[in-house]
Structures are given as structure tokens and as C-alpha cells.
Symmetry: C2
């Protein structure tokens, strides 16, 4: 059995759970490497993956004997089969943050379970700490993102649309990686004041501000980087905002290490923004891995402590409605006494 | 207030619900046209959309006074605000098929609700019947898909990879529509035996079978079409399978109309496949609209009756593991005495 499934079985044992239903597809990919619609059951004796005709062949190709996972086509299973999976199980775990209320009721009935027990993001919490293989994948995705940034800075010309630039980034990622980790953001001029702008038909002007938020996937693992760049010149009214965002982003890099308090770090950025009459309107960052957004959250609303081998983003931003916005973001690996930025593109003024 | 929100309010009245929490973003887009993370509350007196700083500006731009929707930034709301939204409400509806078990418990507490009531996919069921504007959008998406198919048939040459072809389709969709409705499938040779194959680096051979499953979005509405095409020649061992799939696909088109029984139609295809020692391993089709997969399901496992102005897919397929597969799919509009295929690309043998 692989190391991650073994870890899960040990966890269940220590929580007095005799089985678990895993439904979050990202958790299933994390534990088994399977990428298919279906449900993973950890029962007393077996690991079972229930899928359907569309995926059976593919799942069989992914797994080896070593995985010790039995694959069933749901069409071959009877009512009794479902009732037998968790026979003699007192407590069965489930993912209360993924399973809908309707599915929860269905599972109780279908599997004839007495007690479905909340597992409090147990697998997600484990996913926050990356192993060496996971770190290598994220590093690779970050490297490709740096290369893509260099490519795109040379590609952008006034007259191109935001959409066109975004598509070019996507093409690069499909060519040099597994594709995008999230919808690429290219937001220019007044559009850059929207943190989650969708690329539009707006054309790049001779003098312009462009915020680009981009990331790709390598073996399922994500990168995430944002830069605000300039066309023609850096307007005088943008400079102080850019410098303020950058100063804070760099201060956060200094503060991020094992045991840092994420609430405190976020609070310091928010305070500095407020001193200058701005506002940190979104979280300072988030964990990243198989999901582009995963634990921990770095914000003023919740207290978390960074741990070695977490990978998180550091992305302060200031947005002036209807005018412009600046955001600077790196993907960062946490180490004991310091952190290591994995995205390394320049943060000096980039003028095209 | 717009017609769809008015419909929802009437529904709530007839179900003795004094309010509802709408969380499914597709339902929110359907009801309000808002595309942003957030929660829609229908309270006794008001319609409320709660979002955060990233989306406030954009939501305000989407809405007009006529919509009668109040937008709140979640950061400005207190514990008491949440408790007051549903004050004096006996029963409040929620989406039990979308809300997680954890959120269900959180809502009870946060909104101080006595009775959260399941609404049994009420909004999804309404979404199955399309109005004229929705039909126009889907027609437009289908037309673009036909055009893209013609384009791609001329583009494909032996030596190209599946990935390269898929990216070309995606590019076409981003240029001529809002982009893809789902991950484009280009599956050639033995890969075509996997119904949900992911485009690979396999190169198209001089003699080859290629299944292409493609769809785009127009104003949020999806199209979905599959064709299996040939390079060089139609191999003799594929012909009988292709002909059998096509015969059934065309028979289904004749059978689809108001009040058709979807279970019966699917059963007839399955029976005909079995007579020939094959098997219908997936559903025959699905509703399509703002979601590429929505109600109703067309399969042998559940009985549904088609209604006028439903839009559904008709997609029988046969898959021979490790060798090849054939699937033929159209998006279809249901009318009273017949149906209207909205995707119109040829289903004769296409040989490149």
C-alpha cells in the first residue's frame, strides 16, 4: 500500500474510525493518484474505488498491484454490496466540508451506517505539508511560470486585447506544462482595479498598467504568480501605490518562516496600507498544491501558524475603483528559519 | 424585479417558505445574471447578495435598479446582521444538493434559523425548461460548434498530436465564443476506447479513428457535440460499429419529443447494442444549459419525461477496450411533436 493510504489508515485507527468514505476528487488524487469520478472507500479490510464505465479502463492503468485498491464498476454493485462494505463498522468517517447535506443522508441509508463521523479536513490538513516529490512538482510549475512571464513581457504590444494576451499565456502553459492552474487574469487600465477581472476585449494602450495573474500545473501541482507591469512609462500616480505594495510584499517574505503567525503578518500589511489610506480587501495569501487555493488561509480573519514544507502565496494588492490596481504575488516555500520564493520574476518596474 | 426572481418568490410562497438561501453559483447566475462568489438571500422583504471586496464593483456593474437586489460586502456585516436577515421566518429553504453538511450546520447557527427546508432541486428543475433567450444562446453556441468542426476537419493532418488539435479547437472557441464549455476531448486510435479520454501526445496516424467531443459557451450557455471521424479510410472492422451507433442515434432523434419516456428510449438503444454483443456503458444523454451537464438525465436507470423547450444531448457510443470507440452526439431542442437537432454537422463517414 502506498505511504499516503497507509497514513490515512493509521489516522482512522487513532480516531477510532473503522472506515471512511472519501469523495473529494482532489483528496482521492492525493491519496491514490486516481483522476476519475468516483468514491474511495476505506473499509476494515480493503481499499475500494467505485467508478463507472467511463473510467474503469483508465483507473486500472493508473493503479498497480502495490496500491492494493480494488476497482468496482458501479453498475455491477447491488444494494447488498453497498450495505456490506461497512458491516461491523461502528464509526465511519466522511468529509463534511465536501459531502452535500443530501449525500450525507443518502450515505447513511445506502451504506447502512450507524454513525457517520466528521473528519475535520483531516486529509486537507495533511496536504498542507508537502513531501519532496510534491515540492519538486510545484518548483517545476513555478519555473515554467517565470519562463512564461519572460515570454509574455516580450510578446505584449499596444493594440493587443487582454483576451489575446491571456490566450497566449494559456497556450504557453499547454505547450510547456499540463495547462493552466486557474483562469488567467490579464487586467489592464481601469480593469486592473478588479482583483478577479475576466480578460476582456479592451486593447492595451500606449501608456497602460497591466496586472497579470498566472499559474500552471505540473503533475497536478499548481503555481501562482502576479505581476503588475507597465506600457510606455510608470505613471506618477501609480508609483507610490506600486512601491507601497512591493515594500509590504518584501517585508512579508522576510516574516514568513516556520511558526510565523499568519494573522499577525496580514495585520501588519493591513495597518501599513491603512496608514496610507488604502485597504487590504482580500486575503494576503493561501496554501497551494493540488488545489490552487488550499489551506492555510493567510488573512486578518484567522490565526494560523506556518509550518516547514508548507507552500503558500504572498499577494498583497491595492485597488482603486474605476482607476487602476496593483498586485504582486509569489509562490513561497516555508523553511525553518526563512522562506524560499519559488517564483522569481523581477519585481522592479517592468516597462514595455 | 426580474421574471426569474419573481418566479422564485412565487414558488417560496406556495411552499410556505418565508425565505431561501441560494448558494449554487449557476442558480445565482440564472436568477440574477450575477457571476461572482457569494450568497443570494431571499428574505421576507428583500433580495440580498452577499459577496466580498473582490467582486463588489463587478456585481454593481451587472445589476440595475430594476433587479431590486441589495449588495453587501461581507466584511461590513456583523453577527447581528446575519441573525436579522431571516427574523420572523418560520421556514427557510436551502439547496440540499449543493450545500455541504458542514455549511448546513453553519447556516442554522449563523442565520439563527429554526427550520432549514430542502427545496428538492426546485431551481434546477425550472432551469430544464428554457425560455426563448436561453434557446437563442444555445443555438448560437451550437452554430459555432458546427463551424468549429468544419474548421478542425480541414486542419487535422497525420503527425499532429491530440493535444495540438484540442488546443486548436479551444483557440477557435475563445476567438468565436466565450470559450470551451468543458475540457475538449480528442481521442485517437486506441485512446478513443475511453469515453472521457484526456488529449495526449499521441500522433495522428495515416490510417486512424478520432473521436472529438467539443462544446463552447455563449452568454454562459453551452453546446455539446461529438463526432468520430477517420483518417485515410474507414477500417472495415469499425464500419459495423459506426453504423450501429449512427442507426441508434438517428432512431433516438425520431423518438425525442414532448412526453417521451427517457428510460424507454435508452433501453431501446441498450437492447439493440446487446443484440450485437455491445453495451451502452454510459447515459444516453443529459440536459444542457448554463451547466454542460444538467437535468434531465437520459439513461436506463431513471424515468423522466421530455418536455417542450428542454434542451438535451443524444450521445450513444460503443467502446472496445484497447482498440477503438465510436460516439455520435447532438444537442437537441425538444418540441411538441418532434425534436430539433441544434448541432448539424454531418454524421456520414468523414474521411480526412
Amino acid at each position: 500500500m502506498n505511504r499516503k493510504m497507509q497514513w490515512l489508515r493509521n489516522q482512522l485507527l487513532s480516531l477510532n474510525l473503522q472506515g471512511m468514505i472519501v469523495t473529494n476528487p482532489v483528496n482521492i488524487k492525493y491519496l491514490t493518484n486516481i483522476q476519475a469520478e468516483g468514491t474511495l472507500l476505506v473499509t476494515r479490510k480493503e481499499n475500494i474505488f467505485i467508478t463507472d464505465g467511463r473510467y474503469v479502463e483508465d483507473v486500472h492503468n493508473t493503479l498497480t498491484l502495490f496500491d492494493e485498491i480494488v476497482v468496482y464498476d458501479i453498475r455491477g454493485l447491488t444494494k447488498e454490496d453497498f450495505e456490506n462494505f461497512f458491516m461491523f463498522c461502528e464509526n465511519v468517517g466522511f468529509e463534511e466540508n465536501h459531502v452535500t447535506y443530501a449525500k450525507y443522508k443518502e450515505y447513511m441509508h445506502k451504506y447502512k451506517i450507524n454513525s457517520l463521523v466528521e473528519t475535520e479536513n483531516m486529509i486537507e490538513k495533511q496536504r498542507m505539508i508537502k513531501d519532496e516529490e510534491e515540492i519538486e512538482n510545484i518548483k517545476e510549475a513555478c519555473k515554467t511560470t517565470d519562463e512564461c512571464f519572460e515570454y509574455i513581457v516580450n510578446y505584449i504590444k499596444p493594440g493587443m486585447t487582454e483576451k489575446q494576451i491571456a490566450r497566449q499565456i494559456d497556450d504557453y502553459y499547454y505547450k510547456h506544462a499540463e495547462g493552466i492552474a486557474f483562469e488567467t487574469i490579464v487586467a489592464s487600465g481601469e480593469n486592473s482595479s478588479k482583483p478577479h477581472a475576466i480578460p476582456s476585449d479592451r486593447k492595451i494602450q500606449d501608456i497602460d498598467v497591466i496586472t497579470i495573474d498566472m499559474g500552471c500545473k505540473v503533475n497536478g501541482y499548481c503555481s501562482d504568480m502576479t505581476r503588475t507591469i507597465f506600457v510606455g512609462e510608470v505613471p506618477n500616480y501609480v508609483k507610490p501605490v506600486y512601491d507601497l505594495v512591493l515594500k509590504n510584499q518584501e517585508q512579508v517574505l522576510k516574516d514568513m518562516k516556520e511558526n510565523s503567525n499568519t494573522k499577525l503578518i496580514s495585520k501588519m500589511v493591513d495597518n501599513d496600507f491603512r496608514l496610507n489610506n488604502y485597504d487590504l480587501i482580500h486575503a494576503l495569501g493561501h496554501g497551494i498544491g493540488l488545489d490552487v487555493h488550499e489551506g492555510p488561509v493567510l488573512s486578518i480573519n484567522s490565526e494560523n501558524f506556518l509550518k516547514e514544507r508548507m507552500v503558500v502565496t504572498n499577494e498583497p494588492g491595492i485597488y482603486i475603483a474605476g482607476r487602476f490596481g496593483v498586485r504582486i504575488e509569489d509562490t513561497v516555500l516555508i523553511r525553518k528559519g526563512a522562506c524560499e520564493p519559488l517564483t522569481k520574476s523581477t519585481k522592479k518596474y517592468v516597462v514595455i
